[in-house]
C-alpha cells in the first residue's frame, strides 16, 4: 500500500542539539496521524523539514511513494503539502481574503490581483470543507478559533491534500476544539491526510487514528489510538504518569494583594472592553479568569500591567494606589507577567537567552547594577532558571528563536517566577508545554501560592483553570459575570458559562459582578 508520507532515518542537528535523530514516520493515506512528545523532542523540526523549510542533514523523504527533496515550502506546496504553524502567522490589518492569497495572488493582465475570482475560489473551498468564513472580514476582528480556520483555509486554498497542524488547539477553548475536530474529520472524509501535533493527550486520542511518539529526537513508538489510554501515552512520552493540576488545601489569606475597583478600559471606538470590573486577589490566592478569548482578558491584563489606559476606576497593590503608575514602576513593585503570546509580547527572538531573561527586570538585580547591565550576573541567573525550570538549550547565549516553543515558554515562566513577584499574571502558563514539564510548572505555581504569591490565571485549558484556581470568575464582553467555586464546576459547565449560555438560562442568578 502506498503511504502518503514516509520519512526514513531523518537526522537534523542544530548548534549543540540533535533535534531529530534518525526519525522514522509512516503516515497512511487518508488518516489523521498525531505526533506527540515532550518539549524539544523535535516535532516542529520534523514538520518543518517535511514542509521544505529546513533541509534534513540525513535521511529520505517519500510523498505518495516518490522520493522528494524540497528546497522550499513552495515545492512542498506544489507536492500538495500545507502547514499551519505553531505560532499563528496572519497579518492583522488585512482581510481574510488578502491573508489567504498573500504570497500566491492570482493575477489578471498587467499583474493586477484578481480579487473576484480569488473570493469565488475561497468561498468554494470553505464551502466544500464546511469551514465558514467571510472573505472580507478583517483578521483583527476574528476570534482565535476563526483565525485558525483562516490558516487552514489558506493551506487548502493552495490545493493541499496533506495538512500539517502544529499545536492547533493550544489557543482554543473546548467548544472551539470540538469545532476544529469536526472540521478535521470532514477533511479526512474527503480524502485529506492530516498530521497534527498536540500536547493534550485526551484531544489526541479523540482525533487521531495513529500516534507517533517522539522522545529526545527519536521515534520511540507508533500506536493505534484505539489501543492506548492517555496514561499509556504519557508513559511513552516522558516516562511518567499523567499529571493533574489539582490544588491541595487552600492557602488564601486575608491580606489583599491586588484590588481593582470599577476599572473600565475603552477601545478605539470608545466602547468599554473592560467594563466596570471589581476584582480582589489575596496573598496566597489564585484567581482564575475564564472566558472565550477576546472578551477583554487581554485588556484586563493591560490595565494591571499599565500598558492599557484605565478610563475610570482604581487599582491598588498592597494597599497602594497604582492607577497612575508606569509599567516600569509596577514591574519594580513586583507585578509579573507571563504574556498570552510569547512571540508577540514576551521575547526578543534574535537576542540571546540571558537578555530575554532580563527583559522586564532589566532595572533590578541581578540583571542590573546601577545604570549598567550586569552581564555576568545575568548569565549566571539565566543558568539558574535553565536548571530550575528545565529549559532545554546548549547554553544561555543562543538566540531565543533557536529554542522549541515549549522551552521558550519555560524560560518566560522561569524569569517571572524567579523575580520574586508580589502578584503574578499568568496568561496560558503551560501553553505548548509538554505533560511532564506541565506538572513541574503547576507544582511551582502551587509552591509560590503557598509562599503567599497572589496570582491571576487566565487559561484556555479549563482543566488547568479549575484545578489550580481558588476562585473562578467568568469574563464575558468585558464584564465579570459570574463567580464560581472550582470545586463544584466541570469543564463542560464552565464552557457554557463562558459562552453566556449558562448565565442566560439561570437568569444571572450567580452573577455577582466579581469577587467580594
Amino acid at each position: 500500500m502506498v503511504l502518503a508520507i514516509e520519512l526514513i532515518d531523518i537526522t537534523k542537528r542544530f548548534p549543540g542539539v540533535l533535534a531529530n535523530d534518525r526519525v522514522n514516520l509512516r503516515v497512511e493515506l487518508g488518516e489523521i496521524h498525531a505526533i506527540v512528545g515532550e518539549n524539544g523532542a523535535g516535532k516542529s523540526t520534523l514538520m518543518k523539514i517535511l514542509y521544505g523549510m529546513q533541509p534534513p542533514d540525513e535521511g529520505k523523504m517519500l510523498v505518495n511513494g516518490t522520493e522528494v527533496d524540497f528546497k522550499s515550502p513552495t515545492e512542498a506546496i506544489e507536492a500538495g503539502i500545507g502547514m499551519v504553524h505553531q505560532h499563528v502567522m496572519l497579518a492583522d490589518n488585512l482581510t481574510v481574503l488578502e491573508n489567504v492569497i498573500l504570497g500566491s495572488e492570482p493575477t489578471k493582465s498587467f499583474g493586477r490581483i484578481d480579487f473576484e475570482s480569488a473570493a469565488q475560489h475561497l468561498r468554494e473551498v470553505s464551502h466544500a470543507y464546511g469551514l465558514d468564513i467571510e472573505p472580507n472580514d478583517l483578521v483583527e476582528t476574528l476570534e482565535v478559533g476563526e483565525r485558525q480556520r483562516v490558516e487552514i483555509i489558506k493551506v487548502l486554498f493552495r490545493g493541499a491534500k496533506i495538512l500539517i497542524l502544529d499545536e492547533p488547539t493550544a489557543v482554543l477553548v473546548p467548544q472551539e476544539v470540538e469545532q476544529l475536530h469536526h472540521n478535521l474529520r470532514e477533511l479526512k472524509a474527503q480524502g485529506s491526510t492530516i498530521l497534527v501535533i498536540n500536547h493534550k493527550l485526551p484531544e489526541v486520542l479523540d482525533i487521531a487514528d495513529t500516534i507517533t511518539v517522539l522522545r529526545q529526537g527519536r521515534t520511540v513508538g507508533e500506536v493505534k489510538a484505539s489501543d492506548v489510554t492517555a496514561g499509556d501515552l504519557a508513559e511513552l512520552m516522558v516516562g511518567s504518569e499523567l499529571p493533574s493540576p489539582e490544588t491541595t488545601e487552600s492557602t488564601v489569606t486575608d491580606d489583599v494583594a491586588l484590588s481593582l475597583r470599577g476599572v473600565t478600559v475603552l477601545n478605539e471606538e470608545d466602547r468599554p472592553v473592560v467594563d466596570d470590573v471589581d476584582l480582589v486577589i489575596h496573598r496566597g490566592e489564585i484567581v482564575g479568569i475564564a472566558g472565550v478569548e477576546g472578551n477583554g482578558q487581554g485588556e484586563l491584563i493591560g490595565a494591571i500591567m499599565g500598558t492599557e489606559h484605565v478610563e475610570t476606576g482604581t487599582l491598588e497593590l498592597m494597599g497602594q494606589d497604582i492607577t497612575k503608575w508606569s509599567v516600569r514602576q509596577r514591574r519594580e513593585a513586583g507585578v509579573g507577567l507571563v504574556p498570552q503570546d510569547r512571540h508577540e509580547e514576551g521575547l526578543l527572538l534574535t537576542a540571546p537567552l540571558w537578555e530575554n531573561a532580563a527583559l522586564g527586570h532589566q532595572t533590578q538585580r541581578p540583571y542590573a547594577k546601577g545604570w549598567w547591565i550586569d552581564r555576568a550576573a545575568s548569565r549566571a541567573h539565566t543558568q539558574t532558571i535553565r536548571k530550575r525550570f528545565g529549559v532545554k538549550t546548549p547554553n544561555v547565549d543562543v538566540a531565543a528563536h533557536a529554542l522549541s516553543g515549549g522551552n521558550q515558554q519555560k524560560l518566560i515562566i522561569g524569569r517571572e517566577m524567579t523575580a520574586d513577584p508580589k502578584i503574578l499574571v499568568l496568561a496560558h502558563p503551560t501553553r505548548g508545554i509538554d505533560v511532564g514539564a506541565q506538572a513541574s510548572v503547576w507544582q511551582k505555581i502551587r509552591d509560590a501560592r503557598a509562599d503567599g504569591l497572589a496570582t491571576m490565571l487566565i487559561s484556555a485549558d479549563l482543566e488547568e483553570l479549575i484545578g489550580l484556581s481558588d476562585t473562578i470568575l467568568v469574563m464575558l464582553r468585558g464584564k465579570l459575570v459570574a463567580k464560581l467555586d472550582p470545586a463544584n464546576v466541570t469543564p463542560r459547565q464552565l464552557g457554557s458559562y463562558m459562552t453566556g449560555a449558562a448565565i442566560e438560562t439561570d437568569g444571572n442568578g450567580s452573577a455577582d459582578g466579581g469577587a467580594e
Partner: protein, 368 residues
Amino acid sequence: MNNRMRSASLALAAPLASLLLAFLLSALVLVLVGSNPLVAFGDMLEYGSRLEIVIDMLNRATPLYLSGIAAAIGFRMNLFNIGVEGQYQLAMFVAAVVGGALALPGFLHLLLILVVAMIVGGLWSGLAGLLKVTRGVNEVIGTIMLNFIAIGGIIAALIGRFRDGEISTNSGTKLIAESGWMPNLNGFVEAFTRDIKGRQLSGMLVVAVLVGIAYHLTINRSRFGFDLRASGLNPMAARSGGVPPKRMVVVAMVLSGAAAGLVGMVDLVSRYHRYDNNFSPGLGFAGIAVALLGRHHPVGVAFAALLFAFMDSSSSILQVTGSASPEIVIIMQGVILLTAVITYEYVNQIRQREETKMAALATAGGAA
C-alpha cells in the same frame, strides 16, 4: 578559541568581499572608459599613504564617523534618522553664532561651542521624535521636512543678520576668537613621524573616539541601551517589559541628533572658525552609508569611515596624473554599499550553516 577565530573571520569576510567586488566593478568601469585601473589604483595607494594625505584622510574620517554613529543610534531602535544633514548644519550655524558672540576664557569657550552644537542637534532631531510620538509623523518624513526648514529656512533667513560686517565680501558669520579653536594633534603625530607641513590633524579626532566609546558603553552595556535595543527588536515586548515606548523614541532621536551636532565641528573649531559657504555638505547622507557598511558596530563604523575618507582624499591625485577620473570613487563607494548589503546577508546564511555543521560534529559522538 578556534571557533571564535573562525566566526571572526566570517564576520570580516562580508566587508572584504564587498570591497573586492567594488574594486573589480570599478576596474571594469575604468577599462570601459579607457583608463588603466592598475595604474589608477596604484596612484591612489601611493599618494594616499603619504603622511599629509593620511592626515587629510583622518580629518575627513572624523565627521564621517560622527555622522555614522548618529545614524547608527537610530538604526539600533529601527529609527531612520535622515535628518543628520539638517541637524549638523543647524548646529554648526548656531554654534558659530554663539561662539562668535561670546568670548569665554580658554577651554570653556571651546566646550561651550561643542555643547551648543550637541544641544541644537539634539533638539532639532528630538523635534522629529516628538512629532512621531504625538502626531504619528513617520520620522523619515519628519526629519526630511526638518532638513528643509533648517537649511533652506532658518539658516538662509538668519545668515544675513549674523554676517560678519567687517569683511563685506564674506558671507560667513563672525570669526570665533582663538579661545574657541580646537587644538590640533600635530605635536603628537610629529613625535612619532616627522614635521607635518601645512596640515593640521584636528583634535576632533579625540572627540570622535570618545563618542565611539560612549556609544559602545551606552548601547551595549547600559540599562538604557538594553531598553533601546529591546524597543528596536520587539516594541511590544519591550513595552510589557517596562520600557516607555514614546519616551524611548524621543530620547533616541535626541541622542542621535546630539552626535549629529558634532559632525560639523571639524570644520568649525579646527578649520574655518566661522560658518560660511566653504564647509562640506552631504556628510549626513554619507553617514547613513558608513553606518550601514560598519553594521552599527563602533569599530566597524570607524573602518567604514576611514575607507570612505581614504577614497575621497587619495582620489585627488587622479586629476594630477590623469590616470582616471576622480569621480570613479563615487562609483566605488556606491558599489561598496550595495555589495555590502548583499554580501552581509549571504555571509549570514553561510555562517548559520557553518555553525550548524560544527555543532553537528561536536554532538554527533555524544548523542548518537
